[in-house]
């Protein structure tokens, strides 16, 4: 497909290939970190070409660059682009019955800004002193030129700004598209949960990415123009700016960002669990409402990242209460997923396995975060690998498995070919088990006190006994990396020789599967569908009786019934003229 095409599906493919490429890069960087913790200072296999002076061993400066770039690449250039850029761009217009995004040029431009950022990231590896090394959070004063003088830090900061710009543009685009471009009859109550997840996350993008942009621009000014927004004078003397202001700005973006990274996956899990239990999602409104509540709270909890920064007790207590509060809607959502499985007819397809695996890792990730939300229990765990294990389970493993749930589900729609189901299942299951091994090992090491970002943790006597545990975890990580070969083989083989996908391989009723070809042509639909029911009209008795199958398209007229709604939450579609923008009926 042309690189200049403005079609949302073409843009989605660009994001898909770029995102997978950066996922590979971020994954390799992660393996280098894991290697260092298991065999500190030993040459990393296959890295001698890049680090000839140390014959492939990580040195402390290289190591700081490696963990910094791992975080930045994964968050800004791999996971967000895969969830929003690839899956969001592809699915969102199709799922709401739109012919495209509200602003096609903006979406194409967004990709190219992101690509520019990607080029800057890659270029930063080639400059003297290497890429950024001040941690993904880039706290000043460490990230200012006095302490991290290399050009790489500047290039990567600009690259983050580019990724943020791109995220803002598609966030805006998605919000407007969902609000204004839904097909007739596609009421808010009939949106697939995937769309709800993308929608809420897009709202968060629009609200909070500009905060990151502001912090980043001020930081760049401190680096390049000699301003002192975040540089304090000599300690205890004062004067100049305040490094803590940056921390507040950063986390005011940073915490909503973790929900940005997981909300689309939540939405997909909600849909996939319903589809492959062959029944409507339990408590659709409650689930969508819970996602909305989490989104609303997400900007009000961020300062739990700063519990040890010496903040005032009043702030500490407020953020503790708000942080704990967010577990309530999360529990409601999780229980609804479980209730959806109950009394269904569960089909363990590859997308379903990935969705269930997402539930497992997300559940464990959420539970291990509880102790971090209360100030007292946060203290021993703050800054340890417990935190690392916790957030990797949620926004790493759960987002990753969510991406693959979506990819395995929509791949036939994107490329018109069916992936090998057996290989897909092997990939999902092995990844899920190994994720638990890797991040479980990190939780254990963190509980025993291992601090993050240590080049050689065994400098500390109290951490020496953790070496065998870390080696075990590293072995899991390398196996996890190896398991991805299964996906690559499946992908390459399917794209060349995979069999043509059936029209509706998963037998579900959403618009992309029932009203568009695979892959959909320009404009998506030959005729804009008129939506009659919700996304999960499965196992409905009338449909079984009249059509002999357990699903019906969202826009399919049930024979013998004049436009009857079957989903429990749907309201009767109005007869006659229906507004083209599909207002709430």
């Amino acid at each position: 497909m042309s690189l200049l095409s403005l079609d949302h599906k073409a843009v989605a493919r660009r994001y898909l290939w770029s995102g997978l490429g950066f996922l590979l890069l971020g994954g390799l960087l992660a393996l280098a970190i894991r290697w260092q913790w298991a065999w500190p200072g030993q040459p990393v296999p296959g890295l001698a070409w890049a680090l000839p002076e140390s014959r492939g061993a990580l040195t402390p400066p290289t190591y700081t660059a490696v963990f910094t770039m791992h975080g930045l690449v994964m968050i800004f250039f791999a996971v967000t682009p895969l969830l929003f850029g690839a899956l969001g761009h592809f699915v969102l217009p199709l799922a709401i019955g739109a012919r495209g995004l509200a602003f096609p040029r903006l979406s194409a431009l967004g990709y190219w800004v992101y690509a520019l950022g990607g080029v800057l990231v890659l270029a930063s590896f080639a400059v003297r002193l290497g890429p950024a090394s001040a941690g993904w959070t880039a706290y000043p004063p460490l990230s200012t030129s006095a302490f991290t003088p290399g050009l790489g830090q500047t290039l990567v900061t600009v690259a983050v700004l580019c990724a943020g710009t791109s995220a803002f543009t598609y966030g805006l685009n998605f919000v407007v598209t969902v609000a204004r471009c839904r097909a007739p009859g596609m009421t808010w109550g009939r949106l697939p949960l995937t769309v709800w997840g993308l929608f809420f996350a897009s709202v968060l993008n629009v609200l909070f990415v500009p905060v990151l942009a502001a912090a980043t621009v001020l930081l760049l000014m401190d680096r390049l123009l000699g301003t002192q927004f975040f540089i304090a004078g000599a300690a205890a003397v004062g004067g100049g700016g305040d490094p803590v202001v940056y921390q507040h700005l950063f986390w005011l973006f940073g915490h909503p960002e973790v929900y940005i990274l997981i909300l689309p996956a939540w939405g997909m899990v909600g849909d996939l669990v319903a589809f492959f239990s062959r029944k409507p999602a339990h408590g659709y409104r409650l689930t969508a409402g819970a996602m909305g509540t989490v989104s609303a709270l997400s900007g009000l909890v961020y300062a739990h990242h700063l519990f040890t920064s010496g903040m005032s007790p009043l702030l500490g207590r407020s953020f503790m209460v708000l942080t704990l509060l967010i577990s309530l809607p999360a529990e409601v959502m999780f229980l609804n997923w479980l209730m959806t499985l109950w009394r269904g007819s569960v089909r363990l397809t590859s997308p379903m396995l990935a969705a269930l695996a997402t539930m497992v890792v997300f559940g464990l990730g959420g539970i291990t975060g509880l102790a971090l939300g209360a100030v007292a229990t946060d203290v021993p765990l703050h800054g340890t690998l417990w935190v690392v294990g916790h957030f990797h389970l949620t926004m790493g493993a759960a987002s990753f498995l969510g991406v693959f749930a979506g990819l395995y589900f929509w791949f036939p729609k994107m490329f018109g070919r069916a992936l090998h189901e057996g290989l897909a299942k092997v990939h999902v299951l092995s990844s899920a088990v190994l994720f638990l091994g890797v991040f479980g090992g990190q939780l254990a090491a963190g509980y025993a006190g291992q601090l993050r970002r240590l080049y050689d943790p065994y400098q500390y006597t109290y951490l020496k006994h953790l070496l065998p545990l870390n080696q075990w975890t590293t072995v899991c990580a390398f196996l996890l990396g190896a398991a991805q070969v299964v996906f690559v083989v499946n992908l390459a083989w399917t794209l060349r020789r995979g069999r043509a996908a059936e029209a509706n391989p998963w037998q579900v009723g959403t618009l992309e599967w029932t009203c568009a070809s695979s892959p959909p042509g320009e404009g998506n639909f030959t005729q804009v569908p008129v939506v009659l029911r919700g996304p999960h009209a499965l196992s409905q008795p009338e449909v079984l009786e009249r059509l002999g199958r357990d699903w019906i398209g969202q826009a399919e007229v049930l024979p013998g019934v004049a436009r009857q709604d079957t989903a429990e939450d749907a309201v009767p579609a109005s007869e006659g003229t229906v507004s083209t923008v599909g207002r709430v009926t």
């Binding site: 302490f147 040890t308 209730m339 559940g363 229990t377």
Partner: protein
């Protein structure tokens, strides 16, 4: 002035033998008050294990029991089932998060944010710590009990405190953000340029433990290791007196960089 920096090979800590057998345990608790955090974490883990078992068990049973079932329910739940979901979520939330909140609040009120304890105890030891890339410089007021005077005792990566009495730490940084942590005392506090942060703790017994930096502070972050020795009251007083005497002799009035101490800040 004492400037002992331990070589990394020296087995200077007594923690290794105590915890090496149990990887999945918190670092040994050597503080008077840390057991409250540990107990709260223990409770929280029990709740969390229960939640995990319930959620995962439910999922496994559901998949097992309803896999390829002939019929699937056609509804998205009833009013009753949705009420149950909300009720179960709410009660889990109230019990688990409530326990964390109440337990945490108690610790904050009595210990972490209660600087009245060190402020009112006449035995309290005050230490000013200046974090650098990559070491901990600590300042004791000496016999005159005033900071930034000739008898100040300054140490590098070597904290000494008497066991059993409150140790009140005020913390700054002169370069980047560092993290002052005493893993065995459940103490963590950021050292931030431009502000004085403070915290306090009590060592439960004599012994030797480690000071660790937990905020990424540059290339040698991993080597920003100090030692903390809890001494008997007599040994501590003797050490401080001798070190103060030497400090007075070595005092250089023109070395302004060495006079970074500050007037002790009220809580």
């Amino acid at each position: 002035m004492s400037t002992s920096i331990e070589g990394k090979s020296q087995p200077s800590s007594n923690t290794s033998s105590a915890t090496s057998a149990r990887t999945l345990a918190l670092p040994e608790d050597a503080s008077v008050d840390g057991h409250r955090i540990d107990a709260l974490l223990g409770w929280s883990h029990r709740f969390e294990a229960g939640m995990a078992a319930l959620a995962l068990g439910w999922m496994v049973v559901a998949v097992w029991r309803f896999r390829n079932a002939k019929r699937a329910a056609s509804d998205g739940g009833t009013k009753r089932s949705r009420a149950w979901v909300f009720g179960l979520a709410l009660s889990t939330f109230l019990v688990v998060d409530g326990a964390l909140l109440v337990g945490s609040e108690g610790y904050l009120r009595d210990v972490l944010w209660n600087l009245q304890v060190p402020a009112t105890d006449p035995r309290t030891v005050r230490i000013e710590i200046n974090a650098h890339q990559w070491s901990w410089e600590a300042r004791y007021a000496g016999e005159d009990n005033r900071f930034n005077t000739p008898d100040d005792v300054v140490t590098w990566n070597d904290l000494r405190v008497p066991a059993g009495v409150p140790v009140w730490v005020q913390l700054v940084s002169t370069d980047v953000v560092h993290g002052f942590s005493l893993p065995n005392f459940r103490v963590k506090l950021d050292a931030i340029p431009g502000r004085v942060n403070q915290t306090w703790f009590r060592a439960a017994r004599e012994g030797s433990w480690e000071v660790a930096c937990y905020q990424h502070c540059g290339t040698s972050h991993y080597r920003m290791r100090g030692e903390l020795r809890a001494l008997s009251q007599e040994a501590y007083v003797a050490w401080l007196r001798e070190a103060g005497r030497q400090a007075v002799q070595a005092y250089d009035v023109d070395d302004s960089a060495a006079h970074w101490g500050w007037e002790w800040k009220a809580p």
